[in-house]
């Protein structure tokens, strides 16, 4: 059952991410990206990251994608956009990387066949130290993220707020048409 759910989500994610690249109309691309975000959120739920699933839908689908759709409709592009002339190069590069990944996966499976499956060994850290498996259900997902985020990763959290501030100022300065002309004139 879990495998079936995973393959459903994975299939839709791969399909819609291909559609994002292939479709010619930017609005259709953005909408298929929306479907992809929802399915990634579903994948997070199956991985027991419920808080991140909610954040994924709120931030990605609710804020970022709406911003994209605003800009697409604001610019009102109707002309047919062809693919880039370096299409063969890009396709070649993608095929090469894909082949490498498939070869690596196949090789890994061949090497690991006699050993125990990966899902079974994942309960121990690389240094062999066993992880307490009852940590995750003890507190809720949101509480755990909050505790780690506001204790160990407090400084990166503050830096992230600085990044957002810089992005906000930059976006205003870039998008405002005559910010500097007014001041000079």
């Amino acid at each position: 059952m879990a495998t079936l759910v995973f393959f459903y989500f994975a299939g839709v994610i791969v399909l819609t991410s291909l559609l994002v690249v292939v479709l010619r109309n930017p609005i259709y691309s953005a909408l298929s990206l929306l479907i992809m975000f929802f399915h990634v959120a579903g994948l997070y739920v199956t991985l027991r990251a419920e808080f991140l699933a909610a954040v994924q839908i709120i931030v990605y689908a609710g804020a970022i994608l709406v911003l994209y759709l605003f800009v697409v409709m604001l610019l009102n592009i109707k002309r047919e956009e062809r693919y880039h002339p370096q299409f063969p190069f890009g396709a070649f590069l993608g095929l090469t990387i894909l082949t490498e990944v498939l070869l690596l996966a196949y090789h890994r499976r061949v090497v690991n066949e006699p050993a125990s499956p990966l899902s079974h060994t994942a309960r121990t850290l690389p240094n062999g130290q066993a992880v307490a498996t009852d940590v995750a259900p003890a507190a809720g997902n949101t509480e755990m993220i909050g505790e780690v985020l506001y204790s160990t990763y407090l400084f990166p959290f503050e830096v992230a707020s600085l990044i957002l501030l810089v992005a906000m100022i930059g976006a205003i300065i870039l998008a405002k048409r005559d910010l500097f002309e007014q001041r000079e004139g």
Binding site: A63, E81, H84, G94, S119
Partner: protein, 100 residues
Amino acid sequence: MIPLSYYVILSAIVFITGVVGVLIRRNIIIILLSIELMLNATNINFVAFSSYFQNVVGQVFVFFTLTVAAAEVAVGLAIIIALYRSKTTINVDEFQLLKW
């Protein structure tokens, strides 16, 4: 239980799709959407590993990726609007001022 390698393969496929999208498309909005695809592929990896190691730090890092994605979108779309004002197009081939 789904093996961890399935998640890694899924994330690799999505990431490669994003790379190819950046390379072959001329519409700068689609290029930004492809960058979003790549960021989401890394997020899938983070959450899968976090779930398999029973360690919540991976999910914390998804937060930072989310922050960077939001900042990138805000600045990127502002740049697109500024570019569209100067050239009335969003085809990346038209912007070749630095080409020699």
